[in-house]
């Protein structure tokens, strides 16, 4: 060992000091936080949470295999984009599930494989049960919380034919119970008033914001929890979903016989096209994709009669509109398959299979405490009838490679939602069996009252079909998915603002969309600004029928064609080539309306070209 030198002594002391300093000075202090969310940081993105409890008050649940059948489904919708009938949202922003096993933790259950439903065995009393729920992640916003208990156990969120409540399910939500009590009776027009649930911190509205406009919300850095949300389930749904398949109609009107309007079915989604009647202009060469009806994008219709609303004038007006017939249920050949696995349509396996319920819409006037029957926005004495029929544009997929089953509706941050709303006609003249045709004239002047103002109850007609007129206009919602836009309303586009009056006496041009229509509560809530005179966006449009309790039916749906993953649709054998399963042709790729190219290209040029608000951005 060499003798110590000052430097070695210093060197010996240094590490001791260092170790001491290290041990004492550096041990404190919190672990640093990531300063941002991905992609710059790893902090879990702050999000919103809605939590509360589900309270069930209804029939005893079914059980099998030791489990309670079904679950409570809690659906959250953006208040600015609610689901039909008040909005267009086809899917919720998010949804949560409270399994039946959790909600009914103490309820006895059948251990066997068969499904045991106490109601079917004479147990009639209701039970009450509750359980907590939480739904996340959510962006900042104001939400509606709708809910139902999937009593039948058939709910599946990914398929249009099983993604909504059906007969037997117990509906509810976070509803305004006071409003519900005011409108108490079994009125089919009743629509629950959902309580807004705000998530996040509201941002100030612009100075020119419309009254009642819903602000944008942001999630604070620490996240946001909206708690204490009470979801009530107690309204048993007593009707089936409005199952249908579409039929394209041909309409003929002769001024020489103005009292009669002839409509005839020319195309049906249940079969391949036998001819091209009613589907002229389609770009589809594959018969299995040819629509049941086409509308030229520059369609010209008549304006409502300006002088005298006669049956002839109404027939003249109606004849200028495209007609679509929704045949309830399924074709006879498909009924058995539709009712069976995997579809579980709530249809009788024998014809007629199903029936539409048709009745006039009414709203509850909280001031007078009465139900007020409603007309369509255009007025003219045309009642607003359920089911509401709306066409929604599908994504552009000319080769059918992205969406081989025609299921994907347009609507994203880069592609607007485009809808075309129809006018539902009364079946005949309101008197069953008298042979009166479905017509605008009969709808405006039914042979029997369709609404009892004294009781506030509509007369519900059971029909095996519904005929609708397709308006020559679309509404393009290009800000539904823009988080920065507080005004979610769309742009109304119609090819011609003016049209020849439907008066048989030959009156001059008049507004196709009356100014009063735009001022109506229905359109005012959906349309911003003035109508734009331009051509309609070409493409394929799905068909939706909606009723007030939220039940709906859409074609095309997954039952009608194969998804591509399942292989190609084998129409000869009605199965899929890779994953064999039944195919219901009537619900398939023909069940669309196609807006086709203009009858005259010049009509769609310049300022009349399809507005940017209606087109996807590239």
């Amino acid at each position: 060992m060499s003798p110590r030198t000052p430097i070695t002594a210093f060197a010996a002391a240094a590490p001791v000091a260092l170790a001491g300093v290290v041990a004492l000075a550096v041990a404190c202090g919190p672990v640093p936080s990531e300063t941002s969310a991905p992609p710059d940081g790893r902090e879990i993105t702050p999000s919103g949470v809605v939590e509360g409890s589900v309270v069930y008050d209804g029939p005893h649940p079914c059980s099998s295999n030791g489990h309670i059948v079904g679950a409570a489904i809690v659906l959250l919708f953006d208040r600015r984009n609610p689901p039909p009938p008040n909005g267009l949202a086809t899917t919720p922003v998010n949804f949560g599930v409270v399994p039946g096993d959790v909600l009914f933790a103490s309820e006895p259950r059948n251990a066997g494989a068969d499904t045991f439903c106490p109601v079917d065995h004479g147990v009639t009393g209701d039970i009450t049960a509750s359980a907590p729920f939480a739904v996340s992640p959510l962006s900042g916003g104001s939400y509606l919380v709708e809910a139902f208990y999937d009593y039948t156990g058939d709910f599946l969120p990914t398929f249009k034919f099983r993604d909504l409540p059906e007969m037997g399910d117990i509906a509810g939500g976070d509803v305004d119970t006071v409003a519900a009590l005011e409108a108490v009776n079994a009125n089919p027009d009743y629509q629950p008033q959902f309580v807004p649930v705000d998530v996040g911190t509201p941002l100030p509205l612009a100075g020119d914001a419309a009254p009642g406009e819903i602000p944008n919300y942001i999630i604070p850095d620490e996240g946001f929890v909206a708690n204490g949300v009470a979801v009530s389930l107690g309204s048993v749904i007593t009707t089936t979903r409005p199952y249908f398949y579409p039929v394209g109609l041909d309409v003929s009107f002769s001024a020489s016989t103005p009292g009669s309007l002839l409509t005839s079915p020319v195309q049906t989604s249940a079969t391949s096209p036998a001819n091209q009647a009613g589907i002229t202009g389609t770009v589809e060469t594959n018969p299995n994709y040819q629509p049941v009806l086409t509308i030229p994008q520059d369609i010209q219709v008549l304006a409502p009669p300006q002088q005298r609303q006669t049956a002839g004038a109404l027939n003249n007006l109606e004849a200028s509109y495209p007609h679509l017939l929704l045949q309830s249920g399924l074709p006879s050949a498909e009924l058995a398959a539709g009712a069976a696995q995997p579809f579980h349509f709530q249809l009788a396996s024998t014809p007629p299979g199903s029936a539409f319920s048709v009745w006039q819409n009414a709203t509850f006037d909280t001031v007078s405490g009465t139900w007020v029957p409603q007309e369509v926005p255009e007025g003219e004495g045309i009642p607003s009838l359920w089911p509401l029929v709306v066409l929604t544009k599908l994504i552009d997929d000319p080769d059918h490679t992205l969406d081989p089953a025609s299921l994907t509706e347009q609507g994203s941050a880069t592609a607007p939602v485009v809808v075309l709303q129809a006018i539902t006609l009364l079946g005949g003249d309101g008197v069953p069996g008298d042979g009166a045709p479905d017509s605008l004239a009969n709808t405006v002047s039914p042979a029997a009252p369709i609404f009892d103002t004294a009781t506030g109850q509509p007369v519900v007609a059971q029909q095996d079909h519904v005929t609708v007129l397709l308006r020559p206009a679309v509404i393009c919602f290009d800000s539904l998915f823009d988080a920065t836009a507080s005004d979610k309303r769309g742009t109304l586009v119609t090819p011609h603002l003016l049209g020849t009056s439907a008066d048989l006496s030959g009156a001059g041009p008049a507004l196709v969309v009356p100014a009063s229509a735009l001022a109506s509560p229905q359109l005012a809530a959906q349309v911003k600004g003035s109508p734009v005179e331009a051509c309609l966006p070409v493409g394929r449009y799905a068909i939706n029928a909606v009723v007030p309790d939220g039940q709906a039916w859409t074609v095309p749906n997954e039952s009608g064609a194969c998804s591509g993953i399942e292989g190609a649709t084998d129409y000869a054998n009605l199965t899929c080539t890779l994953q064999p399963r039944p195919v219901l042709r009537s619900q398939g790729t023909r069940a669309v309306v196609e807006i086709v190219a203009a009858t005259q290209a010049a009509n769609c040029q310049g300022s009349h070209a399809v507005p940017a608000a209606c087109l996807p951005t590239q």
């Binding site: 060499s2 640093p32 879990i44």
Partner: protein
């Protein structure tokens, strides 16, 4: 930045001044000890006994080795100092050598001579009397049976003859003393010059001087080894690319025993029952190893060789404390009683996260364990006992236990995961000259869950238990087949049972694996050798046999240099999660989940083909050079499959999809997924060159450079598959490691390591919230330079040591994985005491 450079330059200058001022110092311990040993043996051979003994003592002081004691004893015999000789022979015997009986007899003979000499002296001083002859058959003064006089005389004569013919002469213990050996490349001890693969070693000195307490971090200094710290507790290791979260392409062994977690197909380093204080060295074999080790030795093998029972200090403790309460504690004890030896160790570890993914005050999240700071907290203990039977047979028992929680980044879009549980390892082995039998049982139990998730989103809790039982029998024989052709033959068979019960799987699983392997090293003269390996493994999941050949050609241009050519293949079988996943993964759409069909397609094993040309030169006492160029072709890597929307066809019972409500998860299926073999393949071209130099006593330098060029081939993909791929290089093109170790006689030790890693581009799978889909996304990682340093001071005759350790001294804040935490500077102080 300029200040940083100035500071680091100043620090290096201070270290250099300290080293220069400290006078005489020591070089790399093993190299320096070897040099002293050679000088000593040469001096003894030339009759310069005093010089020789001093050199041998110097060697022993640097790095104790029992052979040195033996040779010192022999030199003392030659010098006629029998009492000193006996003392050193006795110390040699304390190490429990194989030839203890022979040496004990020598000691007995020497003691007899001493007594005789003493008696002679006494007799000369006393009046002459008739000497008393010992009664035949009477007990010897030494324990044990008396050695026949003739035998003792012969042995003592042999000892007295001394090493006349050089350092490695007959009767000496010098051939392999202080020579570097590796065991892992061929499952037997050999020089790295003879190894059929590129090998690297992290020595005990490297471990001690680095101050690193995370075992995988010790490997960062090696060429061709990819290290990434993703969390405080998770450091992933791969070789020659293909690192990933839960890295699964390197087989990690402790003393030849697999610690691969079959559940995940990964090594959870922080759950190992040993600590750095228990490690004698770490051997790293770069390149495929399936030909010897079967599945999962895909692109390398890491064998942690622990300190043998009875070797080293009798006991010790090492305590460390640092930033954010980082704590390391280790205690150990080792001893030998005759043929029985033991080593016991225990420890505690607390590692904070590098950075928090859950900042304090968040109201929208719930957590699995509530503690948002901790990445690792655990206790461990390990015990090994050995018993020698005769000259050749050694039997050992090992038991290890670890308990605690550890944080890892999972696979695919599943990120931060907390695993709480215990791990128990029991092993037994018996070794003889020709036969070796090893068996072990690894048992894991515990629970896991995501670190945090929004309230309403599942933490994916799970409960697991696994049992792995393994038995391996190896027959070894060395023989000649004439004409100077020598064989070193190994034949072996292995059986492994894996039993898993895990919430994430469809069902409980039990697998029986089997393997047969053959290794033959054929030496044709001193300059040329061919090594052939072949292994056949039965993989139950695949229900077939997978074959893994390896061939190497070794040419020695000089006695201590090697040119090596290697061709090899390897495979990795799908792990339990990949094979049998049955986990509904909740989607951001809270009521929906991703499910796995029971009828998903069979996964193929991941495959690698390697060809390599290497050169190793250790001729000089002052430096060694190791280099390799290689080409790898990798295909069938297993990845999370893009999720597929549920179809109507999936509702049919034959589809094997649980298509309805999952009552326990509270979700409905929306997508099906799982794992799949990638359609893309990879060609990897790489080179490694490294040198370690010992230019002056006390100064040890190393530097290495790794070049990697990963080329992704999408030719096996459909147009649709290729459309969603992004380039995945994930490995730095350039990596440079360098370091300096300075050891001084005053007891000051300094080590500085510098690691430069060039930018990386990763393809990782993430969940697209809009599409609710798993999609590939490209991530770029910037280059980083990591500087680690340790300053230590040994005192109390080297029994005690104080040290300060800095990780990422320059505070180059960086991520080593796209989802990894940000690594900043961390400091720790240590106190070590060795009895």
């Amino acid at each position: 930045m300029a200040q940083r450079h100035f500071a680091s330059t100043l620090a290096l200058a201070a270290f250099a001044a300290l080293w220069l001022a400290s006078g005489a110092a020591r070089a790399d311990e093993r190299t320096e000890a070897r040099a002293h040993f050679k000088k000593g043996m040469a001096a003894v051979a030339e009759g310069q006994y005093d010089v020789g003994v001093e050199e041998l003592k110097a060697a022993y002081a640097i790095l104790p080795h029992p052979n040195v004691l033996y040779n010192i004893a022999r030199a003392y015999v030659d010098m006629g100092d029998l009492e000193e000789a006996i003392g050193y022979y006795r110390r040699y015997l304390e190490s429990g050598p194989k030839d203890r009986d022979e040496v004990a007899a020598i000691v007995a003979g020497l003691e007899a001579r001493v007594r005789k000499q003493e008696a002679t002296v006494l007799e000369a001083q006393r009046p002459q009397v008739e000497p008393t002859r010992p009664t035949p058959g009477a007990p010897s003064p030494l324990s044990g049976p008396p050695a026949p006089a003739a035998v003792v005389a012969a042995q003592v004569d042999s000892a007295l003859r001394g090493p006349r013919d050089g350092a490695a002469g007959p009767g000496t213990r010098g051939d392999q003393t202080f020579e570097e050996i590796v065991q892992t490349a061929s499952k037997s001890s050999q020089s790295p010059l003879d190894a059929p693969n590129s090998t690297s070693i992290v020595t005990e000195q490297d471990i001690r001087l680095s101050g690193i307490v995370k075992i995988p971090e010790l490997l960062r200094r090696l060429a061709g080894v990819d290290i990434m710290e993703t969390t405080g507790a998770q450091t992933e290791v791969s070789m020659r690319g293909f690192n990933q979260r839960l890295s699964n392409k390197v087989l990690v062994l402790i003393d030849g025993r697999s610690v691969y977690v079959d559940l995940l197909g990964a090594t959870l380093w922080e759950t190992l029952p040993i600590a750095v204080e228990d490690i004698a060295r770490i051997e790293v074999v770069r390149g495929p190893g399936s030909a010897l080790y079967g599945a999962d030795a895909f692109n390398g093998v890491i064998n942690i060789i622990t300190k043998a029972p009875g070797e080293g200090p009798a006991a010790g403790a090492n305590m460390g404390y640092g930033d954010h309460n980082t704590t390391h504690a280790a205690v150990w004890s080792s001893g030998r009683v005759g043929d029985f030896a033991y080593r016991l160790s225990a420890g505690y570890e607390y590692l904070p996260r590098w950075s928090l993914e859950v900042p304090p005050g968040r109201v929208d999240l719930h957590t699995f364990v509530g503690d948002i700071d901790t990445s690792e907290r655990g206790v461990r203990m390990n015990a090994e006992v050995t018993r020698r039977f005769g000259d050749d047979v050694v039997v050992g028992l090992v038991g290890g236990y670890d308990a605690g929680s550890t944080e890892v980044l999972g696979v695919g879009p599943i990120n931060d995961e907390i695993i709480e549980g215990t791990q128990t390892q029991l092993a037994a082995y018996a070794r003889s000259k020709h036969i070796e039998l090893r068996t072990f049982w690894n048992y894991n139990e515990g629970q896991s869950g995501l670190d945090a998730a929004p309230i309403g989103q599942s933490l994916l809790p799970s409960v697991f238990t696994t049992n792995v039982v393994d038995a391996e029998l190896t027959y070894t024989a060395a023989f000649e087949t004439g004409a100077g052709v020598d064989h070193d033959l190994h034949l072996g068979m292995e059986y492994r049972l894996k039993q898993v019960r895990w919430t994430y799987l469809e069902a409980d699983e039990l697998e029986n694996h089997g393997g047969l392997f053959l290794h033959d090293e054929v030496k044709v003269g001193p300059r040329f050798a061919v090594v052939g390996d072949y292994r056949a493994d039965y993989v139950p999941y695949l229900d077939r046999v997978v074959q893994s050949p390896r061939g190497s050609v070794l040419v020695h241009p000089t006695p201590k240099s090697t040119v090596r050519g290697v061709v090899a293949t390897a495979f990795r079988t799908p792990n339990f999660l990949e094979s049998y996943i049955g986990l509904p993964v909740q989607l951001p759409l809270a009521g929906a989940s991703l499910v796995t069909p029971t009828t998903h397609p069979l996964l193929q094993p991941e495959q690698i083909f390697t060809t390599e040309l290497g050169y190793l030169n250790s001729e000089s006492e002052y430096f060694t050079v190791d280099s390799a160029i290689f080409y790898n072709h990798v295909h069938d890597l297993i990845d999370v499959a893009p999720n597929v929307p549920l179809t109507v066809g999936d509702l049919e019972p034959s589809a094997g999809v649980a298509a309805g409500l999952n009552q326990s998860a509270g979700t409905y299926p929306a997508f099906t997924g799982g794992f799949e073999n990638q359609c893309q393949s990879y060609d990897v071209y790489g080179a490694e060159i490294g040198a370690r130099a010992f230019p002056l006593e006390g100064l040890d330098l190393y530097a290495n450079y790794t070049l990697m060029d990963v080329q992704q081939r999408d030719t096996g993909c459909t147009v649709a598959q290729a459309a969603v791929l992004v380039n995945d290089a994930r490995t730095s093109k350039y990596k440079i490691n360098g370091g300096v170790q300075i050891r001084t006689r005053p007891g000051i030790d300094v080590e500085v390591d510098v690691h430069y890693v060039s930018p990386e581009d990763w393809a990782e799978q993430v969940t697209d919230l809009q599409k609710q889909q798993v999609v590939y996304q490209s991530f770029h990682l910037d280059a980083y330079t990591l500087v680690n340093a340790r300053v230590g001071y040994r005192f109390l005759q080297g029994h005690a040591e104080l040290s300060g350790v800095a990780f990422n001294l320059l505070d180059d804040r960086h991520r080593e994985h796209p989802f990894g935490q940000i690594l900043d500077r961390r400091l720790m102080g240590f106190f070590t005491y060795r009895f």
